[in-house]
Amino acid sequence: MQQALDNNHELPLEEFPYIVRWSEERCKRCGRCTAVCPVKAIEPTIRVERRVYSEGPEPTPQAARRITQVVRQVRDIARYCVGCSSCALVCPNEAIRPEYNPRNKLLTFRSRGGDAYKRGGRRNDPGVGTLDKLKFSRISMLTDPALDAGRHEFKLTTLLGRILPAEGLPLRADNGGLAVDAEAFVPPVREIYPIMIGSMSVGALSPPMWEGLAMGVAYLNEEMGMPVVMCTGEGGMPPRLLRSRFLKYFILQIASGYFGWDEIVRAIPDMVEDPCAIEIKYGQGAKPGDGGLLMAYKVLKLIAEIRGVPLGVDLASPPTHQTKYSIEEAVAKMITSMSMAWGFRVPVYPKISGTKTARAVLNNLARNPYAAALSIDGEDGGTGAAYNVSMDKMGHPIASNLRECYLDLVRQGKQNELPLVAAGGVGKKGNLAANAAALIMLGASAVSIGKYIMQAAADCYGNEYNRCNLCNTGRCPRGITTQDPKLYRRLDSEKVAERVVQTFKVADTELRKIFAPMGRSTELPIGMSDGLSVADKAIAERLKIDYAC
């Protein structure tokens, strides 16, 4: 009796998000593709063929069995092809590539073992978001001349820190001028570049990636005169850097896991510079209401040392700061105590995820004279590890969230006192400068980027078509988000630094090209909403900008 076929534990390739197209004729069987595949979605195997052939002057068909070496896509959903294209990149003969399958049923089949699907990466929404629908339509031409983006001097910096209202400035008349009352407390304020690198931790990022970003930021500050800053994310930073003069380019993040803070606190007496700011993380846009998670296989020796934890354990930060039970405590106590740690010389601000309750947080901060800013992370933000349902279905788009917060401050006359930092999907379609400028004109003092800089500076494979998304697994095929030396050696930190600098130079030029025709060069056009329009009535109404079609 013939043995029953038992393939029911497998899926047809049509269900998979990416189908690997392999050419038998072009493949020279070198094995590089199967070696490099980060998820083992392809494997070398053999195929037994029955071949009928004929030799001699008369047809004399004979059958023979032949064994052929092939590359096969695995049909186990646990090893689905993520479409990263590492195989295509290493193939010497263009014999293999993944092809996106829009009819895939990944989400239907992915949840096995009762554990909900987690992934890293982006939101995977290929649609055009609000930021990319906005246009700059207030162009000076005839009524008044436009500026020359190439020749005018532009001031493209912004302020991070609590800014005193003009009525409360500690000034006194002094010999026909004004002098500052030396006794008065003036909150610390930093002049920074309006695009900052958002919080991505040592641990989430590989050593060369984090180092590359840091080197790029230092170069931008010290050689290019661009005061770009970056946030450490949770997990602290290398102790040597904490005691270096470069610390002033970094925003130290304290999140609910407090990872890395033992080292930071210990280093305070030895710090030769103050950090740029302290960011208290209460939420992140990609998984609002959820804590951070660095998965065990990324917690290797270096990371464990910096964070002060054992090797190889999941590092879960709770969704809230566990010792705080109310907004008064969370905001007032944490901000005050962190400010005090640095002698009130360092701006301290919270970061929350985009949410309908953002205004409640904002209004609380507006009344707290030590709150230095509010950072809002919209739903398009990326993350190291998040449940699929959080990433896809939770959150608030940044544009409207930021706008209503800004207009709330305007109503209170505090739009300049509490800077807003916007994040989440800035540069999602590659339009970094345009997205940043639009958010600034909607009321942001600065924007944060994360995914964009990984894509631009380290050639991250991911896109909005569910591609790659391996950031959380420690198997990043580019070496960006992995602690595996075999993988992160693929990434050259010098090259990353170089690309960081190039990326900011380009953004700088593009910002000028946006602001110059609108006649703005002396000050960042924060809240210049008359410069924007959109061909969507609902968006125009919601953002209180012009409708133009």
Binding site: T143, D144, A166, L169, L171, G177, G519, G527
Partner: protein, 384 residues
Amino acid sequence: MCRLAAISSESYISPLENVLALETMKEGHDGSGMGLMLKDLGGEFEELKDYPILSGICSQSGYRALNEYMQGLGFEEKHMWSPPVRPMPGIAKRDYYFAKVYQYPADYAGKPRAQKEDLLLRTRLALRKMGEADESIVVFSFYPDVVTLKEVGDPLALGEFFGLEKAGLSARVILAQGRQNTNYAINLYACHPFFLQGFGTMTNGENTAFVPIREYLTSRGFPGYMGYNSDSEVFTHILHYAVGRLGFPLTYYKDIITPLRPRECDRRADRGALALIRSSLRMLTIDGPNCNIGFLPDGTTYMVQDSKKLRPGAVGGVPGRYALMSEQCGLESAVPRRDRERDVFPMKYDMAIVSPRAGEVRVWNQLTGAFMESPEPSGAGARV
């Protein structure tokens, strides 16, 4: 681009001189309107300097409503001036043009100046609101010793329309703007100069930072920061806010609207104050291109440019009579007998300040934070 003509004088002068100066600069404006603002009044107003003057335009019904409202508040009309209007082709005559001098309500007699100013402001805004829908009441200023006239039409024709040569109007400080209507529909409230509690300004150019500035000012909670039919109205309000409310010396107005770069601030003795002002008032940074001319309650006049110096502007004259013009030909018209070598063309860092009663013109330099030495006239070519 609008043309601006301001004259500061020791003796009382007729606004016709400003109109003639505007006429020489005619190619700069298309005659879609003119605004005149007179401060430190002579003639029939000379003896009435302590009494508030309400300047405006009314329809018949508006006029009745205005009088009733003012009586209701307890304002007693003390004197009334109206121009000897002569109909002119192209100018649509309205029913009443007036400058009414009032006695304060009885219960305000002994009250401090601030409370009186508050009353005048609230009254003007209420009248403006009453007549805004049907344009039955248009009020430009309500303040002691200040008269404002505005109308749609060519400046020279308007001079004739208002009969300025025999209207008996004269003042020591007169601002006039010939309008070029580019951005907005013709609206008398969009016509310069603008006035608020002793501060008057006029501007040409486009203020590209208008919306954030408007939002900042309106959120100060001060009722006078409203209107904004023109993007230039914010210049008056920034001046009022900086000098009037915050009590800063006039030169800080320049530091607010065109802040120095940080490295430039380091050269100033007051760099600490500058850094604070620069942060706290960054929303009030104008981005030009603008030439801005204005006066203060004490009769000081000034000219200031945007930080890119994209507009022309010239200041010159002789002690006792200085003119601040957007074109040099306007200066020629207003003060032909002067030493041209001493003419000032304020550049991006400069603020030309004419002391009250046209005592002298001094140039304050933002980079040094000090007044510049007056250059000696070269002699050659000087015509005094």
